[in-house]
Symmetry: C2
Subunit: 309 residues, 2 copies
């Protein structure tokens, strides 16, 4: 007879943080018209998402895809039961953000690898943390939540392996600085499940696991397996990108963010609630994929749309 | 400080059964020239594979892609330290197989869903088992190993849900009939990790877990997560297809077999041995993908080949 499986204690619900309109589109070659970016965000909200990263205040010289973030924010309907989030790298970005409506949260981003920090934001990890302190103070004065990203948590495109203790130190520094949540990014997508568990366990020794989010890229196809591994440890917040928007800047033609549809399919299949409408997500993802000029990066979307279900 | 992760007891090594030259190519639209199919099998052997499904003796009217199986077998070098396997559906197929060299194993295939059995092999599950009995007897007389497939173990394209107890019954019948190993196929790729565990636990109550193999399709992107879930239960044999050869016949344009490269990357990353050379696999997969006229379905292959590593 069938015995009941001896399952670890998965969370009963997971909050999805949708990063497609920012992290996704920022890494697509084609710049998307402002009206399409707004339609994407509205479509995601209608599919049930309540935590959406909608833009950034990084210099348009570096990230032209996000130059219209003020116009996007101005066009969005207020979201009383959720939050629009924007990336703010420094006080100059904060000046621009403070002139915009509809911001409920900002994100700041540090790396767990010195080389990556230098190449990505042109300063050391310690310098980046110093730079963020006044940004966090101003966000808090505005009543905005602050979320911290740590990149390269399972490997660095320049350094290779990254010690999990280093990840824990940077995460702890961001948490002490006032971030309510730390999103742990496998920026190059090289992690595998054992490492994902070790990494989360190291960080959870410094920061409550309820304040951790998994931001795993699918470059090596490992994202869902890694997410399964850390769900077992109690991680209940997952960053993902509809249609897998956003390639990998370190390997042209390779995948980047894990697709929201694929994550949601797994969670729903396991009886874990997300509050999201999977078919609506697939349709929204299909539309934005055609706008950026490629097929959807979500296998679930391809399967359900091919079946015409 | 980092605590050691509380990990389940994963196997220390996994045997990969490569199904690309048969299950993969059979589901590709373009028929591959015999010389290319032979080159593929030789390339896979050189990458370390020792268990390769090379063809089938199904009527060429139904599966024209496998019509050259006798020529392929005649051209292969003997593999003393491994086995070439072929699908043999009935005694007529066995007549043809017995005229060929280099066969070390045959596979027979049953379904866990009555509707699928009728549509796929035009008989009931019970009738299919009766039909296999003399095939198994002749294989054993030839000194050939016999492997049993069960399809639709986590869902059926016609019936939807499939009870895990039904999977266990069919697996047990094949095992009693003399199959040394039962390969459990998520033919439509709809399974998720909790169900994968429940299914394996149900089957393992009837058949030793050491005699079970996981044959999971990646149509919904779930294959690696499902494999991780069943590795935890002691499953140590995985079927996969280089470059993810073989689409899904039930959803045009969607993925089929999980890519061998992606499985091997996960296993090696977890310290689980396979004896395989990942880069050699990626190169072999790249070549056959260009022969069938599409890009590789392996994310690992795309990433490592894009990096030029």
């Amino acid at each position: 007879m069938t015995s009941m499986p001896s399952l670890p204690s998965f969370p009963s619900s997971v909050r999805i943080v949708e990063v497609g309109p920012r992290d996704g589109l920022q890494n697509e070659k084609n710049v998307v018209p402002t009206a399409e970016r707004i339609a994407l965000i509205n479509g995601l909200r209608q599919a049930g998402l309540r935590h959406i990263e909608v833009g950034s205040f990084v210099s348009p010289k570096w990230v032209p895809q996000m130059a219209d973030t003020p116009q996007v924010l101005a066009a969005l309907p207020p979201m009383a039961d959720g939050r629009y989030a924007v990336l703010v790298p420094n006080e100059r970005g904060m000046d621009a953000a403070e002139a915009c409506p509809n911001i409920g949260e900002i994100a700041i981003f540090a790396a767990a690898s010195e080389s990556f920090s230098h190449k990505n934001i042109n300063c050391s990890i310690a310098e980046s943390l110093e730079r963020f302190a006044p940004v966090v103070a101003r966000a808090q004065a505005n009543g905005w939540a602050v979320r911290g990203y740590v990149s390269c948590v399972m490997g660095c495109p320049y350094e290779g392996d990254v010690p999990v203790q280093r990840v824990a130190e940077v995460a702890a520094a961001l948490y002490r600085m006032g971030c309510y949540e730390i999103s742990l990014g496998d920026t190059v997508g090289v992690g595998t499940p054992r490492l994902a568990k070790s990494m989360i366990e190291a960080v959870a020794a410094e920061v409550p696991v309820t304040a951790l989010a998994a931001h795993f890229h699918d470059t090596y196809g490992q994202a869902l397996a890694n997410l399964l591994a850390v769900l077992e440890l109690g991680v209940a917040v997952i960053d993902s990108s509809v249609a897998g928007l956003g390639g990998c800047p370190y390997a042209a033609g390779a995948a980047g963010n894990v697709a929201t549809e694929d994550v949601v399919y797994m969670l729903h299949g396991m009886g874990i609630e997300t509050g999201l409408d999977l078919m609506a997500l697939a349709v929204v993802g299909q539309r934005i994929s055609s706008v950026v000029g490629r097929s959807t990066g979500s296998k679930v979307a391809r399967a359900v749309l091919a079946r015409g279900a």
